[in-house]
């Protein structure tokens, strides 16, 4: 017997039929003798409708009232899920964030969870009830409803799982797990059975949109094992009662739980990256701040940053990437920053960032070198390189993006075997 938190996203509760299908997954786990808490998102499209009304009411609207309006979406699905579970003979009760309570700070619209009081949920779980908790929201110490920001429901689920000391937190969505790369680009992409928190973090922030970065960070910090799986699969197939985490989905867990570590676990792609280069910037302390401070003030998110010493040793070249859509604005910001001294500024849109991610890189030399070789063999020019402990990223011309992904996927032996 295990204690499990099951989270269902917007497409998994989009209407009553979908809620019923998702409830069958809950029933399977309950019937297997597990204690189950459920966390739900709003029906797909509902949050956008509510946000739209707030914007129509006032372009600049009070975040406190925005939160009160938008949080109603999960309240609806939590109640409906409880009704459907009851209809299946399962004792169930819905909990809004304030009823748990899930305490947050008062940064309305993007609040952080401070504490999840486990008492109410524990009591239900221990007596065989299934509590259904609204994702995405909590309550501030001022008694106001707060929301966690987009994708916050994953974070809610992990926080609830940590609070009730769940064995794992299952994230049900419309894909059946985390893949080695985007299957639409590389048809030979395969589902990972296990992936480490660190790898998942790199993949989440690099464009694999399965899990919110924030929820993975929290899961890693709290040691909550997550499973990504699909609510669209037959709820009664695949998961043998008593199985450790089922045959379906991808387990996101500590590196230690992964026996045979792949050197590279995945290849990710982020499109539409523009690059800007400042040549011969006067190299003095604070030069990076003088470039990126004004961009941050203008709320332009910078991705890759590369800095090199110039030939003369007195100046430095700085290159960085930003979304294509911010290219013109970023140029304007930099050109109107008088304290910034440089010889020339140039750049272009239409780049693609390709990354290979894997904890195996720590112990295996030559992973990056292999990447450069594989790209070179296909005649793909590398414009920028950045590396972290478990990731190597390159910026290339966007035209070559799919070719590069497929080439690297094959090169690192990630292609699924023909069966």
């Amino acid at each position: 017997m295990a204690r499990i938190v099951m989270k269902f996203g917007g497409t998994s509760v989009a209407n009553i039929e979908r809620i019923r299908q998702s409830a069958l997954h809950v029933k399977r786990e309950v019937d297997a003798g597990n204690e189950v808490a459920v966390v739900v998102s709003a029906m797909a499209g509902k949050t956008n409708e509510l946000v739209g009304w707030c914007t129509e009411a006032a372009t600049m609207h009070d975040a406190r009232e925005y939160d009160a309006v938008v949080a109603s979406g999960e309240q609806v699905t939590a109640g409906l899920m409880a009704i459907v579970l009851q209809e299946m003979g399962i004792q169930s009760r819905s909990y809004a964030g304030w009823q748990v309570p899930i305490k947050t700070d008062d940064t309305h619209g993007s609040a952080r969870i401070l504490d999840v009081d486990p008492a109410n949920l524990d009591e239900r779980l221990s007596s065989g009830w299934v509590p259904v908790v609204t994702g995405f929201q909590g309550i501030s110490d001022k008694g106001r409803i707060t929301t966690l920001g987009r994708g916050g429901s994953d974070t809610s689920a992990v926080a609830v799982a940590a609070a009730v000391k769940a064995t794992r937190c299952d994230i049900y969505t419309d894909v059946d797990g985390v893949y080695t790369t985007d299957p639409r680009i590389a048809p030979k992409a395969k589902r990972l059975e296990r992936v480490s928190f660190e790898e998942m973090l790199e993949m989440a922030s690099l464009g694999a949109k399965v899990l919110q970065t924030r929820s993975v960070e929290l899961a890693m910090a709290q040691g909550v094992r997550m499973v990504v799986r699909s609510s669209f699969e037959d709820p009664l197939a695949g998961d043998a009662p008593g199985s450790k985490w089922g045959q379906a989905g991808t387990l996101v867990c500590d590196e230690e739980e992964i026996m045979e570590k792949q050197i590279v676990s995945g290849v990710t792609l982020a499109r539409a990256e523009a690059k800007i280069t400042l040549r011969k910037v006067k190299d003095k302390p604070g030069v990076a701040a003088s470039v990126f401070g004004p961009l941050a003030d203008a709320r332009i998110v910078v991705d890759m940053i590369v800095q090199n010493i110039s030939d003369d040793g007195q100046t430095t070249d700085i290159t960085f990437t930003i979304p294509d859509t911010e290219f013109d604005r970023a140029l304007k910001v930099l050109k109107s920053t008088p304290e910034l001294e440089y010889e020339s500024i140039s750049g272009s849109k239409g780049g693609a960032k390709i990354s290979v991610v894997g904890v195996g890189m720590r112990s295996h030399a030559g992973v990056a070198a292999a990447m450069f070789r594989a790209l070179s063999e296909k005649g793909i020019n590398i414009q920028l390189i950045t590396t972290s402990e478990i990731k190597t990223s390159v910026l290339i011309d966007e035209e070559y993006a799919e070719l590069a992904v497929r080439a690297l996927h094959t090169y690192y032996g990630l292609d699924k075997s023909e069966e």
Copy 2:
């Protein structure tokens, strides 16, 4: 300066444009120096949508979860109204029932308000803020959301008005007041400037659908003056700042506040009433209970009841009315009640109940007699008569309903003068 509660119904908050229009009415009162609390319904149609989902989830659904789902509708409009008011430069904050808190019993789906804590609202009102409260809902002592049943928002508004000791409670709806009769039947119907609680109660329960009976009962018990008026009127016309309750709408108040009492204030009509007559029922103690007990058990609502002694003095004739739709079921219930001894049972559908209502009846003799005369002059046959202190009702053939309403309206001098 006065303290006012303003309640807006579903059509008055049906979309952002309507919310904005309603907010202008609030602004008018605030600009006039009043302290204002607002109570809102859900957007028109929203509650039906939410109820529909609950029914789709399970025909017989848990009332606790129904309440959690359905209460979300008002939460949305309260937040949106607060945003719109803020946009107009008015400090505003939304309050869900549980945040006020509005404490109710735990009869989910049709809860009764036990207490409205005035502290939070008082604090906002005293410092010039406009609190916007969700109608229709509260919280039980178990910390669960409760709803008050259909039309409960009027009751919420009156309860809030009583709690904060408001000067009056304005009910904004899609009609501009209470009329002497339905203007669609009698084009000469006119808006009443004032009507007493007692009269309003009789009219509300007799088919004038402007106010919920329950809210009028509460207003009478708590001495809360109500104004019924339209949110569709120009918010900046009609109401002079500092005016007692404005020139628009109908004031529902204590009889003492009404100087020139009309003998008859209104004529009401309820259609589709069926009548059933039991002849020569054995007249013994408990005979009425043996007729109406089984009907109540079958949840058939009985309206008019008339009992007469028969010629023989040993038996009695009992006639009563019920909705046409319950006619067949009522006959079946009575025929299968063995302890009921009578000679014959008969009845027919298609009756109409016409009532004249007015506190003036108390002091003026002959009001009922005048009614019978007026109907007789038009050749309308009276089938049943019941009277109360301030009301006389007759059952007639439904074919004559409109004719009867217009005739009585003219007869009692209620027609508006030609201008």
